[in-house]
């Protein structure tokens, strides 16, 4: 591996940026978490189960609302599309049938976007949901990868790398299944590339999962001391 060409930020092709997270950083939220891949970072708060607006009320399950605010200005169609992706991704992960006629409200503030932002958001939402104690079927985590013109696959790409890529793939996996929960691929690519990216992201997700486990353990230890 010594002669592998390093990327601009001195990472290898299959290396994630440094991951960091802070749990329960917000005072008034039921659960909150910030999560970052290198310079891409988001802050997420979760409220719920709480009262639901009458028009959104569902008789047999809780309503999940997702709001994403960009770093600058108000949300555009890009954020609306991300909200839909995130909400659908968690639709089967949150056990909504336990809290019918309530709402679970997820609010995400993007604090810095340096690429792979959808993955960063999904990971932050997962952590915040755990922090809020919302019943979940599994832990959903996501990693992005980008295919360069020469076919090289870069894990956790930065904005610059996404701009030069022929295709970008966002994958979300849960810890209970080996199969794809959510996937969002854009650009031009072949079927083999798609499945290869899925395999690479699945491997990377397991290392994010290890991080999430230690982050939660760390938080619990701190709580027990107090």
């Amino acid at each position: 591996m010594a002669n592998e060409v390093l990327r601009e930020d001195k990472r290898t092709n299959s290396q994630l940026r440094p991951i960091s997270s802070v749990l329960s950083s917000l005072n008034r939220a039921d659960g909150s978490a910030s999560f970052s891949f290198g310079n891409s970072s988001v802050l997420c708060s979760v409220y719920g189960p709480q009262e639901v607006k009458i028009k959104d009320e569902l008789l047999d399950r809780a309503t999940v609302e997702v709001n994403i605010t960009p770093q600058i200005g108000i949300g555009s169609t890009t954020e609306k599309n991300m909200e839909r992706i995130v909400r659908e991704a968690f639709s089967d992960v949150i056990i909504t049938s336990l809290h019918p006629r309530t709402s679970i409200s997820i609010t995400v503030q993007i604090t810095q976007d340096e690429g792979s932002i959808i993955s960063t958001i999904i990971n932050a939402v997962s952590l915040a949901l755990i922090d809020a104690g919302i019943p979940l079927r599994s832990t959903l985590l996501s990693v992005t990868c980008a295919v360069q013109e020469d076919g090289v696959i870069l894990l956790d790409p930065s904005n610059e790398e996404i701009k030069n890529a022929t295709s970008t793939h966002v994958f979300a996996f849960s810890n209970t299944s080996n199969d794809i929960i959510s996937s969002e691929s854009t650009g031009t690519f072949s079927e083999e590339e798609y499945f290869k990216c899925a395999d690479i992201c699945k491997l990377a997700v397991s290392s994010v999962l290890k991080f999430v486990h230690s982050a939660i353990e760390h938080k619990l230890q701190k709580e027990q001391k107090n």
Partner: protein, 285 residues
């Protein structure tokens, strides 16, 4: 005695049963490999297109896919180019889902689904070279074409993304732009009335959508009810070289790669047949 017991046993007729237990109703059909509307599981609805039926637009398409129908109109306008791209024209896709097409949509600003589809189509055009934006340039730094692509849904019965994308591609194929010369001294563009040029598409990406019901039944081209009852959906976009231009799987249950591969081969077939339909319709016009 017999009469009394007959009255006691409660029998639902099919319509009531479908309303009360929609999932069970579907299961009864799907175990026999058929859907309540008479289609086989991997069968798409009958699709038809009608090109250039709007006379006020430069290019248009009316599309029917089962009970889903959309109209796509392309208006071309001459505008000043963006400062950072003085040689490129631009396109503005917009999908409208108003209460005209279904009661699930409310009046007012576009909802999440409409915005999400507009965004997806915009992204597709930006990332997979479909139109050569340089060809939309009339005079560098002075005038370029702007294509306002509006898709209006008239009747919503599921699978709106496939319908919207196919109608847009068809309308683009039928697009006729007047030949324009830019007069530098006067600073204005003049269109010739007789000569028109059509736009060449670099690739023809089309999509196919599937939903999964009960973890095992894959249904192609879902209608609204099937969309609501299913546990996940997956959309493939293929171009004419059978290369993928996008996959989007929205949450729900996990899908194995065998299942995805199975859908892929069906999606290639479907998008090929849509391209054939478009070609034959174009030749007839």
């Amino acid at each position: 005695m017999n009469e009394v017991s007959n009255k006691d046993s409660f029998v639902l007729d099919a319509n009531t049963f479908a309303k009360l237990h929609p999932k069970e109703f579907y299961r009864k059909f799907l175990t026999n490999n058929i859907r309540p509307d008479g289609r086989l599981l991997k069968k798409f609805r009958k699709t038809s297109i009608n090109l250039n039926s709007l006379k006020s637009a430069e290019g248009s398409c009316v599309l029917k896919m089962g009970k889903t129908s959309v109209v796509c109109g392309i208006k071309a306008e001459v505008a000043e180019p963006r400062v950072d791209d003085p040689r490129k024209g631009y396109i503005v896709p917009n999908v409208e889902l108003s209460p005209i097409c279904s009661s699930i949509f409310k009046p007012g600003p576009p909802g999440e689904l409409a915005q999400s589809i507009s965004e997806r189509i915009d992204k597709l055009f930006k990332q997979c070279k479909i139109i050569d934006l340089d060809k939309l340039c009339i005079s560098e730094k002075n005038a370029v074409w702007v294509l306002y692509i509006d898709v209006i849904c008239l009747s919503y019965d599921g699978n709106i993304f496939d319908a919207a994308l196919y109608s847009i591609i068809s309308a683009l194929k039928s697009l006729k732009l007047p030949e324009v010369t830019f007069i530098e001294e006067e600073g204005k563009a003049e269109a010739s009335k007789e000569k028109t040029i059509s736009l060449e598409l670099l690739s023809i990406p089309l999509s196919a959508t599937y939903v999964v019901f009960d973890d095992k039944y894959v249904l192609a081209d879902p209608n609204e009810e099937e969309e609501n009852l299913s546990s996940t959906s997956i959309t493939f976009i293929y171009n004419e070289e059978h290369k993928l231009c996008g996959i989007s799987k929205l949450g729900g249950i996990p899908l194995s790669s065998e299942l995805i591969q199975d859908c892929m081969s069906s999606a290639i077939e479907r998008t090929d047949s849509l391209r054939e339909l478009l070609e034959s319709t174009l030749q007839r016009n």
